[in-house]
Symmetry: C2
Subunit: 317 residues, 2 copies
């Protein structure tokens, strides 16, 4: 199944994966540095990540100001951009800033532009896709997509804003998906539970059989049916810009599931480690610069490094 020069065979036999999300121009400031209008957006990071594992298809919208040449590396990676539409107006722009801790970004400005009227429509093939990822967009739109689709496995991301302002729509989304990916503070807010175990069980009772809770530099937590998995973080020494790490992680996870064509405790665990490994490339540069450096070979190395950072023997007594 594998070769170091590429993984076309794996790609061609993998199950289909579709992501609905944004392609954006991000202006990010970190202490002492600003990166203006760099390529960003949830669908961009997700597809750049999952493109190393399968052939994801992107549903997104661009403004007339966007140079499609910027997406050339995605095409080379095998990402299908045939349903990335150009519309009159400007591309979605986001501006955020990070403090010394390089933890959560503070949003300074959001210009939805063409994204404001984004109404994703799935064609017949897309409606019958195997795997579908709903990136962090307003729950009303996530709902429209999931109601069009007949996917085998649907995952979604969300955020504090929607938990607070669009709770009823979000609950409807939750009742229709298989996997929710969110961060620890969001999980606590959504569930009203402080303990991560209790929060995950509470969210599970809202619909998804699998709940993945991201904990930043502390790794991630999964509750899949009755089983818990504790996923480590990669102890990155070169932290440049965390933007996109969550979508990169989701892309690694969903790409692994699509590559195997099977959802099990084993493929989910492998996918979370793959997502962790790929996110560790994203954080090493601004925009997509870090993730562009990731290859299947470098993913293999980093996966093996995470194995060696976490392994321990049986209790010898």
């Amino acid at each position: 199944m594998s070769s170091t020069s590429g993984c076309a065979k794996t790609h061609d036999t993998a199950a289909s994966l579709i992501v609905v999300g944004s392609i954006a121009l991000d202006t990010v400031s970190t202490p002492g540095m600003e990166n203006r209008k760099g390529l960003g957006g949830s669908a961009t990071y997700f597809s750049a990540s999952s493109g190393l594992l399968c052939r994801p298809q992107v549903i997104a919208v661009l403004g007339e100001d966007f140079d499609r040449g910027e997406l050339g590396f995605l095409v080379e990676r095998g990402v299908d951009l045939s349903t990335v539409y150009t519309r009159k107006g400007k591309t979605f722009q986001w501006q955020g800033t990070y403090g010394e801790e390089l933890g959560e970004a503070t949003t300074l400005r959001t210009d939805l532009n063409v994204f404001a009227d984004f109404e994703p429509h799935l064609n017949d093939a897309q409606k019958n896709c195997d795997f579908l990822f709903l990136a962090n967009i307003i729950p009303k739109l996530q709902l429209k997509v999931v109601e069009q689709a007949n996917a085998k496995f649907v995952a979604a991301d969300t955020m504090n804003l929607w938990i607070n302002t669009e709770n009823a729509d979000l609950r409807r989304v939750l009742s229709k998906i298989n996997l929710l990916i969110l961060n620890e503070a969001e999980a606590q807010l959504l569930s009203g539970k402080r303990s991560i175990v209790a929060a995950a069980h509470e969210i599970q009772s809202m619909g998804p059989r699998t709940v993945v809770i991201k904990r930043g530099v502390y790794g991630a937590f999964m509750l899949h049916e009755e089983r818990i998995f504790l996923c480590p973080a990669y102890p990155t020494q070169k932290v440049v810009d965390p933007t996109g790490c969550g979508d990169t992680f989701a892309g690694g996870l969903m790409g692994t599931l699509a590559r195997h064509g099977e959802v099990s405790d084993a493929t989910l665990r492998e996918g979370m480690i793959v997502g962790t490994a790929l996110a560790s490339f994203t954080i090493e540069g601004y925009s997509l610069d870090g993730l562009k450096q990731a290859t299947v070979e470098r993913l293999r190395e980093r996966y093996a490094e995470i194995e060696s950072l976490t392994k321990f023997g049986p209790l010898d007594m």
Copy 2:
């Protein structure tokens, strides 16, 4: 080497382990509950924990008000209390309170009592012990102990207070020990570094070849020579009182090293998982109530549970 009914064989052949620390009466309040003058103290938790793994010897001091019958369970566990001295006056008392998060305690009151004049002296056998643990006491005293001893492997704990007020003495201690165990905020304060990897390397440059950084519900981090180990936390659902978890963890780690009589990356990793498993009993009750429920058999079960919570397969591509 093992039997389910006990581990006398293992104990008798294990290397020697000595702990210098406190035996105290703790008054702990958690939301909605107060436990008054319960058994506590670093040496108590440490020896109750390591007593499941080897035969630790305690150097500590009690007041005349202390009922030695309270320590009967330690004797049953094989802990040597022959150098726990009774002095005129009252036993060390500590009072602390936890908020809703049950994270770090806030100290409300510390009455050192007989502990104020504690001057630990090692007898000849103790001077030549294999493993020595200096619990969190003023660095000046830790220094006096380490200067008397000719131990093969010395570990120490410390705290923010000493990093701020006794830095020069603490630095002298660090230059003479093999392992420092501290929490993440303390590691950042001591090193001046925010990243855990950078902090551990900085502390290593102060002396200890092994640095273990505790991260509460997020597990623990070890830098041993050039190698990093990421240790998970046990996802406890029954959190009653975190007092003593750090000393329980240290006891599990040092007890494992003494049991093996060998310090290596493998025994350190096994010891950290043992420490994590034993601390998960401590947190389930007030005072020593949780840890008293731990047995070798229950330790084995929890160790295996941590294995299943963290294991993942190789990258299948």
